[in-house]
């Protein structure tokens, strides 16, 4: 997030797109509700009539995967109607003329034809956002989990730069991170392109820095993403270490995933449970989990916070860092892993990271710091891009609309979009074993508009057969007008309804993020299949 969570109470216009925040980030959503109670205007762009859409002053029910068209048309209107922040554009951006040219054809009427949102509503949204004193954008995976995820983000960033809604309190472009420490995993350098602190591996100076610190030289070449690595299993990748991820269930195209892992010569899994992924391993290490280890999480607002051990782990389970150090020792690499405690590991990270350089284990005891904290004197950075952007000027880019990897056809005439539910988290390894949440949502449901239920001869509460070119699942139907006609929704939290057998037609070419949000399917009564 460019801005801290406290800022969520401060905008006068809020634009939420591709985020079901009341379910995925409920506590952050309470702050938006406060802003709304205090009079802020809410624009919600989402295919479904999610709770935020019901609260919104303006709901833009776009067709799944058509965000670039909608956002391009909003930018078109902002330019056409002279609603830009000219001083901001002149001082802090570049590429404006190219953008104006690019936007010429992206009229609201053109967009209406693609995304299904009435041109008048697109105009109204553009006017509301551009007219804001403090306009803030919030999004989650509904923006990024597409083949055009990067285009989506760039389209949002264009709106921000056109209107100067950045670098001030209550504004910004704010992706909400889904997992508790997904931010921290990147900060810590678990990325194929960056050392800890987002220092590019391709920069020889960084190579030299780490070679000096570790006494080992690391390639200047980029690594490959997990998605590519899974594709390469049995071809060029033959061993994997998977830490705390149930790849088989969480990743798209389950059959492909299982096949990939089975093609390995050596698979080592570190986890708390014998997940579907761990079951395929050669060696499984029992991990100590939450409440059982000391450590650090960084949240979505880049706040660096301590987690603490409250109880002993079960049996002989150990913290991940100890397990990995043990493997390293057995390989004769023990010198690189001399840690006595989580504190030692974290402090080494701080010494080598530029974003954490001013931090250490003791300084983050109270969780006051937002990174970057480049040195000891630095107070932390709750708001990013105050005076300038990392690259100097903000660059307008010109993404064009592309269809999703697969579009609806006679065989697969319905859009499936996937997401999360309030009571459950990811693949339910935790919430499925917690009495309360499991009682609230005990099973997977396919949300179908009542008219579609009728049209497709389904029964509310009955079982449907849902197919995509990659697979099929049986799933219970729930009639609800939360789904628009022609689009169905479910989560991927339940292992017995293998929704990710169906998804995964394509990946964003730049980030390799899977298109989990859009998948054409057919839905029919399960009939004798139940």
């Amino acid at each position: 997030m460019s801005n801290p969570l406290v800022d969520m109470e401060k905008p006068d216009v809020i634009f939420c797109i591709g985020t079901n925040m009341t379910e995925t980030h409920p506590v952050a959503a309470t702050r938006l509700k406060t802003a709304i109670r205090n009079g802020a205007t809410l624009i919600c762009a989402d295919p479904r009539k999610i709770p935020l859409a019901r609260m919104a002053d303006l709901h833009l029910p776009l067709r799944v995967g058509s965000d670039v068209a909608l956002l391009g048309a909003m930018a078109h209107v902002i330019v056409r109607d002279g609603l830009t922040d000219e001083a901001f554009i002149a001082e802090r951006t570049e590429g404006y003329d190219a953008l104006v040219k690019h936007l010429e054809t992206m009229t609201p009427e053109w967009a209406e034809g693609i995304c299904g949102v009435p041109a008048a509503d697109i105009e109204r949204a553009a006017h509301l956002y551009a007219g804001a004193e403090r306009g803030a954008i919030y999004y989650t995976l509904g923006i990024t989990e597409h083949i055009c995820g990067v285009d989506n983000v760039q389209s949002l960033s264009n709106l921000v730069l056109l209107t100067g809604n950045i670098g001030r309190e209550g504004t910004g472009i704010n992706p909400m991170r889904g997992q508790n420490n997904i931010q921290g995993a990147g900060d810590a350098g678990a990325l194929p392109n960056n050392y800890p602190g987002f220092q590019p591996v391709t920069n020889p100076a960084n190579q030299a820095k780490f070679a000096q610190a570790w006494g080992r030289e690391v390639d200047l070449e980029l690594g490959i993403t997990k998605v590519r690595a899974l594709e390469q299993c049995g071809e060029s990748i033959f061993a994997m270490l998977i830490c705390g991820e149930n790849t088989v269930v969480s990743d798209p195209d389950r059959a492909h995933c299982e096949h990939a892992l089975d093609a390995l010569e050596h698979l080592v899994v570190i986890d708390m449970f014998l997940t579907e992924t761990a079951e395929r391993a050669d060696v499984v290490f029992p991990a100590a989990g939450w409440g059982e280890v000391d450590g650090v999480f960084t949240n979505t607002e880049r706040r660096v916070q301590r987690v603490r051990k409250a109880v002993e782990p079960p049996g002989s389970a150990k913290p991940d860092w100890e397990i990995i150090a043990g493997i390293a020792r057995a390989m004769g690499l023990g010198d690189g892993f001399p840690y006595q405690s989580a504190k030692d590991v974290f402090n080494e990270l701080c010494q080598l990271s530029t974003t954490y350089a001013g931090l250490d284990w003791d300084r983050i005891d109270k969780g006051e710091y937002h990174w970057p904290v480049p040195d000891r004197e630095h107070p932390g950075t709750p708001i990013l891009h105050l005076g300038e952007f990392p690259r100097g000027r903000g660059l307008f880019v010109t993404p064009g609309y592309r269809d999703p990897a697969e579009t609806v056809s006679d065989d697969y005439p319905i859009w499936l979009t996937t997401g999360r539910r309030l009571a459950h988290y990811h693949t339910r390894t935790m919430t499925g074993r917690a009495k309360g949440p499991d009682w609230l949502v005990p099973e997977e449901l396919l949300e179908v508009h009542p008219d579609d239920v009728q049209r497709l001869s389904l029964v509310d509460g009955g079982v449907a057969l849902m197919k995509s070119p990659r697979g099929e699942v049986l799933i219970k139907v729930k009639a609800t007008d939360q789904s628009p006609r022609g689009t169905v929704f479910c989560s991927f939290s339940f292992g017995d309804v293998r929704v990710n057998d169906l998804t995964g037609a394509g990946y964003d070419p730049i980030t390799d993020t899977a298109e989990l949000k859009v998948c054409p399917v057919s839905v029919e009564p399960a009939g004798a299949r139940v």
């Binding site: 959503a29 570790w214 690594g223 490959i224 000391d294 409250a310």
Partner: protein, 354 residues
């Protein structure tokens, strides 16, 4: 600068500060029951009354703004007598309220503590209890023991003002007062999201955390460990409750910078997986196609040998590692270092792309 005099001490105050807030800054122990500093002051219980010079009657300090030149006394004999009478009344209506297990909720002891402070045992008045419990609501998370309700409306207000769900409201008045959902039904049929915020602000334990109450009868006290919720990226601060070396509950941290005392159903009630019997307790290695228990040394050796032989056969770019987005930094840092230090490659990623 404007000043106010409290118990003889003259202090400056900021615009919009109440007498109660200034008194608290001065560490005056003014009792409250309907007050929660995250909520708009309500002025219902009257326990926070103070003497204000020039005012005929005592005023509720939580709803009265500080003003220049005010002279306030927070604990005169008359005020304390007045408070005792109020407490005697409240306790007589809620005799159980003075003996509530602290595992019910964060604020559940407020009434009990004041009962001790004012030596109220419920014997002075013949009480008539208001509020009727809802044993028919069999949800496994929130106890609705309204026999203990004192109509402070903190639950209703936190649900509206903080959670923004408006799931519960107040029906009737006086002794008939009842906290209820729309249509007097069950929480699961209302707009309730089971965030537990009402539970944690209830000062009497009329609302209780059923999950932690399971540990109520175990001997001993519980302890708190400050941590961060393991679910989404908001990073809410929590206190993990432990009793006899087991996690028995979670309470929100009121001073948590990301959440200011709020949690959602996952953070509040989603912790009991930790003690699941499906947890792995020892390393497993594959032998004859089956995963079987092994010692740590054996498992470490097996893991190491596998990586070494793949490197020998296919080169160092044949090894890949995936770090978790849920484990702490030390895990991800170790995973990437294992790859970079061990194999000299950048063949590492985390699970954010799915």
């Amino acid at each position: 600068m404007s000043t106010i005099t409290i118990d003889g001490q003259s202090v400056p105050f900021e615009d919009g500060e109440t007498i109660y807030e200034v008194s608290r800054r001065l560490e005056r122990d003014v009792p409250t029951l309907c007050y929660d500093d995250r909520l708009e002051a309500f002025g219902a219980c009257r326990l926070c009354v103070v003497e204000l010079e020039g005012a005929r009657n005592p005023v509720a300090s939580c709803t009265t703004m500080a003003a220049d030149g005010m002279v306030v006394r927070t604990a005169t004999e008359a005020i304390e007598r007045h408070r005792k009478t109020l407490m005697d009344l409240v306790v007589s209506e809620n005799p159980k309220g003075a003996r509530i297990d602290p595992l019910r909720g964060l604020a559940s002891q407020e009434l009990a503590h004041l009962a001790v402070r004012y030596e109220s045992d419920g014997s002075r008045f013949v009480g008539k209890q208001s509020g009727t419990s809802r044993p028919d609501d069999t949800n496994p998370m929130i106890l609705r023991d309204y026999d203990n309700c004192i109509s402070c409306y903190r639950c209703v207000r936190v649900c509206a003002e903080r959670e923004g769900d408006y799931a519960i409201s107040v029906a009737n008045r006086g002794f008939e007062t009842q906290i209820t959902t729309e249509f007097a039904g069950l929480l699961e049929d209302s707009d309730c999201t089971f965030c537990g915020q009402c539970v944690q602000t209830c000062p009497t334990g009329a609302l209780g955390d059923l999950r932690s109450m399971e540990a109520q009868d175990q001997p001993g006290e519980f302890e708190k460990t400050r941590s961060i919720c393991p679910y989404c990226g908001v990073g809410c601060s929590v206190d993990i409750l432990t009793k006899n070396e087991k996690i028995v509950g979670v309470q929100p941290a009121m001073d948590g910078p990301a959440n200011l005392g709020a949690l959602c159903v996952k953070g509040q009630f989603g912790w009991d997986w930790v003690d699941s019997d499906e947890r792995l307790t020892q390393p497993l290695v594959r032998k004859d196609g089956k995963l079987v228990p092994a010692s740590w040394e054996e498992a470490w050796e097996r893991a190491a040998k596998g990586f070494k032989s793949v490197v020998e056969k296919h080169g160092r770019h044949a090894v890949y590692a995936v770090a978790s987005g849920r484990a702490p930094h030390e895990s991800a840092y170790s995973v990437q270092k294992f790859v970079r230090y061990g194999f000299g490659t950048n063949y590492v990623d985390n699970c954010s792309r799915a």
